[in-house]
């Protein structure tokens, strides 16, 4: 199976109005009643379930997008209902035992839907009968699917060779109990409309702000996309399982995403993005600050469209802190997601490296979902409990360059029998180990100026005319399948050539950063004394989850870049219809 992971700003245009309800006792009662009834009644079947969980996510989302000064309202459909206000249940029903159950990897089978969970919308109103009927219908489906899959897994195991990793399919964990109710936060009494637990934004105010911000792009006919999106979300989460766990808590976040695109004469599309993340509107920057960022973005776009294209290159490079965070998320983070070590289709990059050096001794890498902010900035990989009801734990995966452990869901692997609270997913998917807040730290810190000097010296040593500075990247993908080269491709947005002869730095475009992980790690020589932070959404086999990646700038003695694919479409034939400067 090929894993393609993309870390990008989520730029889906939608709009809805958020009105919140508190955690509902009717819902909880209905869910618990059906859970008990199902376990009791299904236990009479030949293949009885040993585990059942319901995860109800009630989402109230508010999305506003403005493009070139005008509000665009488009509904997005997710699952069965619009995402204005939804209540979705994900069901995990397991037949067999903790050691061997229906989720066991069936070797040799192509099953693109194997990671999908039984998921369905529930009534958004608190009607116990209606909720129970919906749960009943879907639990029946979950049971039948599980019983069928279990039989297939048993026969698959019988006909295949011994497994490389014979760990259990599901870890035994102590039940968790936690309850936190959403504390009301009003941004406008009018908007709150009297709802007790409303998480609302002043839509009129924010409509005006995002329209004004996106209107700034109107002056430049060479900007072909110019939009600002605000997304505020409240999720009331309720998890209950047959082991006795019962967890309910709210999650909120607000995100502003700015996107702009121009095009060079040679057809290359040149996008730039800027993302602001906070847990409430209070944490967002001021309009003035965002306007200044847009001005900088426009200036950069203008320079990018006339910048020279870079060519294939190997040599030294500096990655800014933000770029390094994404780089680590891509090439390291996805390889320490524990469950993959069990699947024979994956490459198991670090399997033989537990207790051994994989990074320079001055570097450590931690995943910490309990952190809400870093250096005063809120970070989006925060959560209290993961999507399997486990408390999110701080996990130091690499300490002083030595690989320590994996981030784990409840899918154990050899030597790591328990979850550390990183089982994550979006609705409709089964949870697997996923990243939270990735933090790269270093004891070999240099000032940026020192890093720059190191770059120039290294380039001279290698006989290069220049080294590269990767200022901003937008994500990329990494391949971890055994049948594919174990390579990564990170997509830079802003790259500079730093010349060894003292010429001014030159902005270039049109390259992707490529390589293989172990070789690239060996080439990290020093880090900066800064810390770049990237908040984004990460997409993989268990859906989209919010993550962050923080890192100091990195100096890498040798990296490789290749030409990126580009559009072959010419610039518009006619000039813009209305002169925006003098309309």
């Amino acid at each position: 199976m090929k894993l393609i992971k993309i870390l990008v700003l989520s730029l889906v245009f939608t709009l809805s109005i958020s009105l919140a309800y508190g955690q509902s006792e009717v819902l909880k009662s209905a869910v618990k009643t059906e859970l008990d009834r199902s376990m009791r009644e299904f236990s009479k079947e030949e293949k009885a379930p040993y585990f059942l969980s319901y995860y109800v996510t009630e989402t109230m989302e508010n999305r506003l997008t403005a493009s070139f000064g005008k509000l665009i309202n488009v509904r997005r459909y997710s699952g069965l209902t619009t995402d204005q206000h939804t209540r979705i249940v994900d069901i995990d029903l397991r037949v067999g035992s903790y050691d061997f159950d229906n989720t066991h990897v069936i070797r040799g089978a192509y099953d693109p839907f194997g990671r999908l969970s039984v998921s369905s919308s529930l009534p958004i109103e608190d009607d116990e009968n209606a909720i129970r009927v919906a749960l009943w219908n879907n639990t029946e489906k979950a049971y039948r699917d599980a019983a069928e899959k279990f039989e297939k897994a048993v026969s698959n195991k019988a006909v295949k060779v011994a497994e490389e990793d014979s760990s259990a399919d599901f870890s035994k964990e102590l039940p968790n109990k936690y309850r936190e109710d959403f504390k009301k936060r009003y941004y406008s009494e009018v908007e709150a409309r009297g709802d007790v637990n409303a998480f609302v934004i002043d839509t009129a105010k924010w409509n005006a702000i995002i329209c004004r911000l996106s209107d700034k792009f109107n002056k430049y006919p060479w900007i072909f996309d110019g939009s600002v999106t605000l997304n505020s979300t409240l999720k009331n989460k309720y998890y209950v399982n047959s082991e006795g766990s019962e967890i309910s808590f709210p999650e909120t976040y607000v995100r502003i995403m700015i996107s702009a695109k121009t095009k060079a004469e040679d057809g290359m599309s040149l996008p730039l993005y800027k993302d602001y993340f906070a847990f409430s509107c209070d944490g967002l920057p001021s309009e003035e600050l965002m306007a200044q960022d847009i001005d900088k973005m426009i200036d950069l776009l203008d320079r990018l469209r006339t910048a020279e294209t870079a060519t294939t290159f190997t040599g030294p490079a500096i990655l800014s802190g933000e770029a390094s965070g994404v780089f680590f998320h891509e090439i390291f983070g996805h390889r320490v997601e524990g469950h993959r070590e069990k699947d024979p289709a994956f490459s198991h990059t670090f399997k033989e490296f537990v207790g051994k050096k994989i990074l320079p001794e001055f570097m450590s890498v931690t995943f910490d979902p309990s952190m809400k902010e870093i250096n005063g900035r809120e970070i989006s990989g925060y959560y209290k409990y993961d999507d399997e009801g486990q408390k999110g734990e701080r996990v130091e995966t690499v300490k002083d360059g030595i690989f320590q452990t994996y981030i784990m869901s409840r899918s154990p692997i050899k030597g790591f029998p328990n979850s550390n609270g990183h089982g994550r997913r979006s609705s409709g998917h089964s949870a697997v180990a996923r990243q939270s807040n990735l933090i790269v730290s270093s004891t070999n810190q240099k000032t940026i100026s020192e890093l720059r000097n190191m770059l120039i010296e290294e380039a001279k040593k290698q006989g290069k005319e220049y080294g590269l500075f990767f200022d901003r990247v937008t994500g990329g993908f990494t391949l971890i399948d055994r049948s594919m080269p174990n390579s990564f491709n990170v997509t830079p947005l802003v790259v500079y050539k730093i010349y060894v002869d003292g010429r001014p730095d030159e902005l270039v475009r049109g390259v992707d950063l490529i390589g293989t992980p172990l070789t690239t790690f060996e080439k990290i020589t020093a880090t900066g004394d800064d810390l770049g932070i990237f908040n984004g959404m990460c997409g993989a086999e268990s859906g989209w989850v919010p993550v962050s990646a923080s890192s100091p700038s990195l100096f890498v003695s040798t990296i490789e870049v290749q030409k990126k694919s580009k559009s072959q479409t010419k610039l518009p034939i006619l000039p813009a219809p209305v002169n925006p400067i003098n309309p």
């Binding site: 109005i17 059906e34 209606a130 095009k263 559009s567 479409t569 034939i573 219809p577």
Partner: protein, 600 residues
Amino acid sequence: MKNKMIITLALIAFFALASDMLASSKNEEIMRAMRDEINRSMKELKLEKLEKPYFIEYKLKISTEYNIVSTLGAIVNKDVSGLKTARLDVQVRVGNYKFDNTGFFDITSNFFGSTTNDDNESYSNRVVSADIDYNYLRRELWLATDAAYKEAAETLSKKEATIKNFIRRDTTWSFTEVPATKYVDTFQLDEFNVEKFTDLVVEASKVFVNYPEITNSNAKIQYNPEIIYYMNSEGTEYIKHQSSVNFNAMGVGQSQNGMHVFDAYSFVANNPNDKNFPTKKTVIEETKNIANNIKTMLEAETLEETYNGPILFSNEAACVLIAQNFANNLIAQQEDRINRGVTLITSDENSYKLFQTKIGGRVLPTFISMKDLPLTKEFQGINLAGTYKFDDDGIKPEELLIIDKGYLKTLFIDRIPIKRVRQSNGRKRNSSTCYSNLKMEVEKKYQTSDKKLKEEMIKLCKARELPYGIIVKKVISNDLITGSNNIYAMTKGKMAYPRGTTLHSFSIYKLYTDGREEPVIGGALAGFVPNLFKEIIKTGDELYVLNTFSTPFSASLFSASRANPVSIIAPALLFEEGELRLIETDYQKTSILSNPLLNK
């Protein structure tokens, strides 16, 4: 007091006038932006060595969607924000009316992304703001027209290059010329009464609480008002208001042998204030009727063997039969004339191609004719859903006698001609070709009462020594089965997906020769292909009006179109020959756990 009233009335009149003026000025601003950009593009848009456009068309659709879904009296989805969305469609034709860039399928550009437009600059279904002003719209039109032109110009070159390797047999024109028209709709689209319709949907869905044998059910309403601004380079301009409202209540149960048994009540109209919109009492009664029918059918006996013999469709069932298995064959299909790539291999039956070469031939018994009446607003006091004044191309539709005494006279067509029909008859709706209000007319002597139709069937059965005949009282339209929150989804995909000409009905009865009627399940109404309609031997004497949706289809692989509201007006139909095929597939086992409603 009187003075106050006068002032109030004056204020109302003033605001109404001001509102109209504002709307009118906004309309003019939109049309002016379209006009200016179309003129500039027709004059100046040209790539070196490639041809200029000869036709450009802009369509801006501003729409709102209201959607309420409830199950067992609890809201599942309520989208009533009334927010407007806007989408822009730009069409550019390069070449000339005789031969242009269209009607050409090239696998390299259509399957693997456009070679020309790899920037993803969209010109079809392009999302734009509904808060439109002149400068904003000009900018959007500029970029969309540029992308559409580049693709059209390159496609024409590819088509010309490809055609050199073909011996052309069909030299039908690419596009027909039509005179320019102009019109503006002035009527206001209906407001959606959220409170009233929420209550209606909730109360209807609540009916199922008393039917625990029904495992899944819902009620829902959808209303889509929209304003369409259209302009083309030939001078046609219009502003059209259109809408449709659709209420459904549906339930699914599972018989002891695992078969999914379902029924639905549906009401379709053009607007929510339609005079025929059922009252809450009627809706609840109709919902109870379908719930009771499901209950009856769950206990009905199962068909023992495939039945071949006379089949009587009630007038309501006959209307769905005509809509689903017959009417679409009356639509001209403009297939890509030059295909450098894949050819879809589909049966003529399933792709509604049976009548494409049958003009002049007999397709119905000689005592039956069919008319399509797009300009007729109502029939027997019922507003018809398929009525419209102008089609998508701005052409006023003709009222057509499409089948005259059994013989096919023409086909429904838009501006893309086919060999046998070369002029549009104004049938382009929501980007596909479609009929409007299709009315079946039967010679008097072949009409008879329902009672006599049954007697006629019994006579036929006796003559063939059949113990019983089959009556179909209702057929569930496919648009109630497919789609989100509909029947197929409610069975979690465990029923056969509707395809081909097989009809879904759980209102089938055996009519024994002694006059008894008994419900039966386990049979599929298969084989009701259009040619079988010649087997109609008698009809009822009462016409039923079915307002429904016609799901679009296209001979082209890629088309963006959506269902059109249509009406079918037809009597009960007695087929001398038909088949109720024994279903022999395996069914999903019934639920292990009982419905929680049983324990409440």
